[in-house]
Symmetry: C2
Amino acid sequence: MVALGSHKTIAGGVTAALGFLASGVPAGLKKDGKLDLALIYSEEPASAAGAYTTNIVQAAPLELTRSRVAEGKAQAIIINAGNANACTGEKGLPDAREMARRAGELLNITEDYVLVASTGVIGVPLPVEKITSATPAATASLSKENHAAASQAIMTTDLVPKEYAVQLIIKDQIITIGGMAKGSGMIHPNMATMLSFITTDAAIDSETLQRALKQVVDLSFNMITVDGDTSTNDMVLVLANGLAGNEQIKADTEEYGLFCKGLLEVCTALAKMIARDGEGATKLIEVNVTGAPSQRDAAMAARSVTGSNLFKAAVFGRDANWGRILCALGYSGAKFDPTRPDIFIGDVQVARDGGAVEFDEDRAAALLAQDPVQIFVDLKSGDFSATAWGCDLTYDYVRINGSYRT
Amino acid sequence: MVALGSHKTIAGGVTAALGFLASGVPAGLKKDGKLDLALIYSEEPASAAGAYTTNIVQAAPLELTRSRVAEGKAQAIIINAGNANACTGEKGLPDAREMARRAGELLNITEDYVLVASTGVIGVPLPVEKITSATPAATASLSKENHAAASQAIMTTDLVPKEYAVQLIIKDQIITIGGMAKGSGMIHPNMATMLSFITTDAAIDSETLQRALKQVVDLSFNMITVDGDTSTNDMVLVLANGLAGNEQIKADTEEYGLFCKGLLEVCTALAKMIARDGEGATKLIEVNVTGAPSQRDAAMAARSVTGSNLFKAAVFGRDANWGRILCALGYSGAKFDPTRPDIFIGDVQVARDGGAVEFDEDRAAALLAQDPVQIFVDLKSGDFSATAWGCDLTYDYVRINGSYRT
């Protein structure tokens, strides 16, 4: 088990680590000249790792990127928002490849080192010429400062850009891990649930990096849900270029543990930002489950509560309807004795041993009005725990998704 | 496979069959003196069968009823709305038993022949004395006519009562099957998704009846979803009192097939009424999947589409966003080749071979404005098919569930 450590949080997002540059430019895929094309570039070829959607309908850029990440090295990531290049038939893969080819040509690196991600509407052919036309502007504006522009360019229905970076010391060497993410709808546990790009100057081989990412994603991005929909395009990519000059991090060492903690901090912070920015959400919901008979049971239980439409609507309405929490635990698939669970909203106990207790409704309602809302569940059926994050279900979720394409 | 037959639809709901009486009275569990206590009575002991929620948190009345149905015979069902008697601790089971005891006493039948169901808020102790006080009125008003009152008394957030009955001929004998149901939120496939009570005058033993019910429930009640939440209280009960005078129906005979068709027609009609009356819904959505490699894949695919919040919100907004349909198929768990599916909204083809086709957006939007909305998916990956029903996701779903208890 990897636990969250405390590291120095710094600014800089996806370019906080040594040797990374980024940019964000308008390519005309979004309306009104908004930024919609992002580029991330490493001055040196980097170890690459990825985690991908479990949806069997997978977008063309995901297919391309997965095969390239499997080779272990990458040096750039080009990302467009506004069109997912998913379900676009035979034209999808050539279009994704063309995005990479153009970026590689302008960056003067091999095309195989360029990864591609897309997000936006499904089933509309990618206007790839708009992207290739804007790629020179994206390469020309690569800089340390433009991490912010990059984080804006990958947004779709996101209300806020999402960036986070930390510094940690591994064997007297400063290592930086930073990243950015997008996502606010079609977010659900089961791999990677949105787009996120993480960069680090740590020296670590791609196999070890892949292992660290898998471990961390299960505790962060796979523990958030907005609406139960798992997208065709979601991925988390990590590039590690080694410019920090540390001794190569080997699996199962103390250094590996420290690195994982840093990576987990970045991924958890970004995952929570995504859940908080869930379409139409007014607040982040954090569900902590303890006392589960296994790690898997703990995770299933916590995610089931954050995924319940009924519970999410009750939180929106500040209704301390704990029965819906118990109900969601019950159909989660997690094993536990239903006559045992204690449930708390913040510090107010609302259920004991799976049944009602007297509680201060006004105080519970006040806690449900806060952001974040914290729910604690003790299943009293074992020693494992997990935390999941979600958001409330609001009128605005319906409004946003009733008219996404218009 | 049981297919839907065409039978004579008749009035009378849960008392349409010979020898069944019903009533609905106010017991003071709902506000404003609304009907909230229903009673169903068979003049003769009847074969009983049941299907129950898969939630591991199960309400006390469900526990009691399950054990009594397992004995094979029952003669009455007492049902209250307004309080689910779920998560009510050690008081739950005695309260459920007391409901049955009082009804049995007044009906002058053994208490073990009385089944109990409850629906409403979870985690609040059942005010059982209100129910026992109203039980004399319920028994006194038992009649053929009061099927309508009974169907109203079991409603919670339902907007309309739900009744259906058919007559069919089995070996020159008229057999009647009728029923009522309630449910509009916390509805999701995985048995039994709501309350439904079916009565028939057919002669059939309880084991064969149980088998017929299981088969039929999988194609009807288990194919509807409103919000993905599976309740603690849901059940479908069938009583068959044999008063039609037919020769006992044996499994796997032609007569059994006819009986199953009739039962399926009643269950499907009630299931669709529940989906149509989904909390806040403005329309019924019917998703027909063909070309699946197995029955299970077909059902998973169809249910996944009806369960997608994103798709449900798109239907509400009349947005022909077929990418969300394909996406939901992709994460359904069903096996299919993602480059094959054809998708139609009504008669408008919106996707071919998993990709975009040109289509008339205005006409598609007009079809999405109709009730029901019909979606046809051909996975082109096999020979199996399934139909699932759901409803759109609207502002009112959020409103209703943001303030259920208040």
